[in-house]
Structure formats: C-alpha cells, structure tokens
C-alpha cells in the first residue's frame, strides 16, 4: 500500500507546504512508501522530495491519497477520477467576497476553491480539518464522512535560527513596535490594524511603530488602498515590508512589543502561534479560526473596536504583571500545538484510517 500526498502548489516555508512536508516525514517514519505530488513545486524545495502531478503513478484501490484543499484548482475537479481512498485535509478557503473589489484572479480562485469544498463532499472518504472552525465548514457543506481536527504541523525549531541583524539594529530603540505577520489581503483587515495604530499613536504613545509583514503580490489594489489610507491619516512609522526573507521575519517578531491581529477570516492563523513562540503578547479580534487557535491565551476583542484594541495594547506595554501573565498563558497554549502532540495525533488518525 502506498500513501501519496497531492496538492496544487508546494511552496517553500508556507503553512500548507510545511504541513505537507511534516506529514511526509511522519508517514516515512511509520514505514510506508510515500511521495508528494504537486502541480507547481517551489524551486527551493529539496530535490526529490516532490514530483510533478504528471509523474503520479496509477493508484490501486487500496492506496491512500491525502489531498490538501486550500484553493481553487483543477485538481478539485480531477480528484474523483483517481483510484485510492481519499483523505481530504481542509486548510480552509477564504470566501471570495473579500476580494470582490480588489482582484479578479483571487476572487475567482477563492470562488472556485469554495465550490471545490462542495465538489469533494462525496469524494472524500475521511477528512482532517486544521481547526474545529474548518470542520464546521465541512459539516455545513454536507460532508458525511468522518472528520477529525488535526492542527497544522509547525516547524518551531526553524524559529530558533538567527534573525537578520540589520533589521534588528535599525529598529532596536524605545519605540513600541506593533507587528502583524501575514499576506496583505482584504480578509486579514490590515486597515483595522492601521486604525488601531492610529489611535495608539495619536492618543496614547507617539513613539510607536507598525510593521505589516507580508507579501502583497496579487493584492496590489488592496495594498494601494492601504497606502492611501496611511497617507490620509497622516501616519508616520508604518512599514509594509512586502515579501521578505525568513530571517528578516524572525527579526520583526524579535522586535515586536505586541502582535495585533484584526483578521476577519482565518482557518487556523499560524502567525498567532509564531508570536507565542517569540514570547510576544497577542491582541486579536476573536473571530473565525483566530478565536479557536488562541483558546484561553492572549487578549481578545469580541467586538471590533480599534480604540479598545489600542487601550489593550497600552495596558500590555505599561502593565508588566499583565504582560507576563498573558505570555505565561500563551506558553501553555503553545505546548498544545507541539510537534510531538500533533505527530501522535497524525499517526493515530492515519492508523485508524488505514485499518
């Protein structure tokens, strides 16, 4: 019996890519033959780890195909045509309406991806969802097969690498640094992060800086609007980094006094765990997958009020005792996503499916 993993794009260093590679390693350790197949493979991925879809062998009915659903792709349509038992890993697809004003391409991809969720309803023999939120989406789409919640595997050891010293040197001072890490995308509501920063800088502490760390490729219109917003608010000290190297991302986490997330749609939200890993206290709008990933940790906003968010940040910066408590809670929460725990869960669930 073989176990293969299939996905549209195997990117280097992104959440789904890391999850796929970690699952590949775990399956190998379980003693099964396995391989990753993708339509597009990032050139930085280790040679031989993955092959193009065209090279995928014909599967037997007893083989297992693990399919990662995260976007609109022709693979969503083709999946029913492949032999083998199907395990669909649902990483969530952003609802298309967020992109309506900004990107025709992103809108269509998301629309197609959401349609894919329904298409695979009767194709999947078993599902994994990154979060309970994702599981609920599958249930709402009418999935009848067994669905287990298996959090995404995060390579926490990578975060122990050396950060970029140039970035650290440039901004290491007495400013209060706000950080949000994630693609510049309309569902992530970076405009609300900017507004919170505006309130904080104007009414509480002028010596503050905001770093929006993430690529804006494919979201140029939204990026342009964010820049216009910053200009109209006459805000200084806001930096949108664009796509940067991994060691530079590490530097921004090191510089952060607070991690602020105002996203309105996340299936899981890996940067929250990254912030926890870097001992950065979190203030977040508790909505969709964010609420669940944070659990009891961080300071949560249940209603979106940027003034409240600014005041929460002020308290975290000024009140050392509160800050330490929040970080301590985050550390406990982070333990629940440890590699060992997720690995055990993957092995147990996979054994159950193999039978």
């Amino acid at each position: 019996m073989r176990i293969i993993q299939l996905l549209p794009t195997l990117s280097y260093g992104d959440g789904v890519g890391n999850d796929v590679i970690a699952i590949d390693q775990i399956i190998k350790e379980m003693g099964y033959k396995t391989k990753i197949y993708a339509e597009n493979i990032d050139s930085r991925i280790k040679k031989g780890l993955a092959e193009k879809v065209e090279k995928m062998p014909e599967l037997n009915p007893t083989d297992i195909m693990i399919y990662h659903l995260s976007t609109g792709t022709v693979l969503n349509d083709k999946l029913s045509g492949y032999f083998g038992r199907k395990l669909v890993v649902y990483h969530n697809v952003t609802p298309a309406h967020f992109f309506r004003q900004y990107s025709r391409n992103a809108y269509r991809l998301c629309e197609r991806g959401r349609a894919g969720i329904h298409k695979l309803r009767d194709v999947a023999d078993y599902c994994w969802a990154d979060s309970e939120y994702n599981k609920q989406e599958l249930l709402e789409a009418g999935y009848r097969c067994k669905i287990d919640v298996v959090p995404i595997v995060i390579p926490f050891d990578d975060y122990k690498r050396e950060p970029d010293k140039t970035v650290l040197k440039k901004y290491e001072d007495d400013f209060v640094n706000f950080v949000f890490v994630g693609r510049i995308a309309p569902n992530k509501k970076q405009e609300d992060v900017i507004l919170t920063f505006y309130y904080y800088k104007k009414y509480i502490q002028p010596k503050a800086r905001l770093f929006l760390v993430g690529s804006y490729q494919g979201s140029e219109a939204y990026y342009e609007r964010l820049c216009g917003y910053i200009k109209r608010l006459e805000l200084t000290d806001v930096y949108i980094t664009g796509h940067i190297k991994f060691d530079e991302i590490l530097s921004y986490y090191r510089l952060a006094d607070v991690f602020l997330c105002m996203s309105e749609h996340e299936g899981f939200c890996i940067p929250l765990l990254e912030a926890m890993c870097f001992q950065v206290p979190i203030v977040a709008y508790a909505f969709t997958g964010v609420k669940e990933t944070l659990g009891y940790a961080g300071l949560k906003l249940y209603e979106k009020d940027c003034r409240v968010a600014a005041e929460m940040i002020h308290m975290l910066v000024e009140n050392k005792e509160l800050r330490e408590k929040v970080i301590a809670q985050q550390n406990v929460r982070l333990e629940e996503f440890s590699y060992e725990k997720i690995r055990e869960q993957i092995i147990s669930n996979l054994k159950g499916f193999i039978g």
Binding site: E224, R225, Y296
Partner: protein, 141 residues
C-alpha cells in the same frame, strides 16, 4: 487558564481610559480611499470611456524594441553600456520577442471584445426600439 487575568477589571479600565482621552472621530474611513491606479477591481460596472482609453493605449504601445539607444557624453561609459547590451542580448531579446507576441495577441483579443461590445450596443438600441413599439402596441390594444 484565564482565571489569573481579570478581564472585567481590564475592560473597566479600558472603558474609563477611552472616556478620559476623548477619542475623536477618525478623519477618514478606509472605504473613502480611492484606488486610482487599480486595474484589478471588479464589480464597478462597464465604463466605455475607460475601455476605449485603455484600448488606445494598448494599440499604441503593444510592442517594444530590445535595441534601446544609448546616449551619454562619456565615450567609455557608452562603450561599456554597449558591451553590456550586446552581452545580455541572448537573454533579453527572446524575452522581448515573447512579450511582444503576447501583447499583440492580447490586443487582438481586446479588439475582438471591443467589436463584440459595439455589436451589443446596436442590439441594445434595437431592443429599446422594439420595447417601445411593443408598449405602444399594447396601449393601442
């Protein structure tokens, strides 16, 4: 796990702080920000003037040349630039050719779309006329 942090107490303090600081209304909302240079926005309706302007721009700029004239007073600098141009020709020229072919194809497509829209405009006028006639006939009956 949250018993260590008194959220009620925090919220009380936050509400008081908001009151004390007298937060003003934000000078501008995000929705008011225009996306002037956006070519990606959708759902804003068909604008014939914008379409024609863009088509005219495409028509006049759809091909480019690899051979960019090198100007400059310093003969050494001009010579070096010419050498670089010559050395990179084998990479850049095919890319420029490919881009030109793509642009021409794109322009042809857009011209077809333009023709189609013109036809639709004629039908639109015809439908309006027919609807008018139908209404008149209904009134007579």
């Amino acid at each position: 796990m949250s018993e260590n942090i008194n959220i009620e107490e925090i919220m009380k303090e936050i509400r008081q702080n908001i009151k004390d600081r007298g937060y003003d209304k934000v000078p501008v909302s995000f929705e008011e920000i225009e996306m002037k240079n956006s070519v990606l926005k959708i759902g804003t309706g068909y604008n014939s003037d914008e379409f024609i302007n863009e088509l005219e721009f495409l028509d006049g700029n759809c091909t480019t040349s690899f051979h960019v004239p090198i100007a400059g007073g310093n003969p050494i600098s001009v010579f070096i630039k010419k050498v670089i141009r010559k050395m990179t020709r084998f990479i850049v020229a095919p890319l420029v050719d490919f881009q030109n072919a793509y642009n021409v194809s794109n322009l042809k497509c857009m011209n077809q779309v333009s023709e189609y829209i013109s036809e639709m405009e004629k039908y639109k006028i015809k439908i309006e006329q027919l609807e008018k006639e139908l209404k008149e006939l209904k009134e007579k009956c």
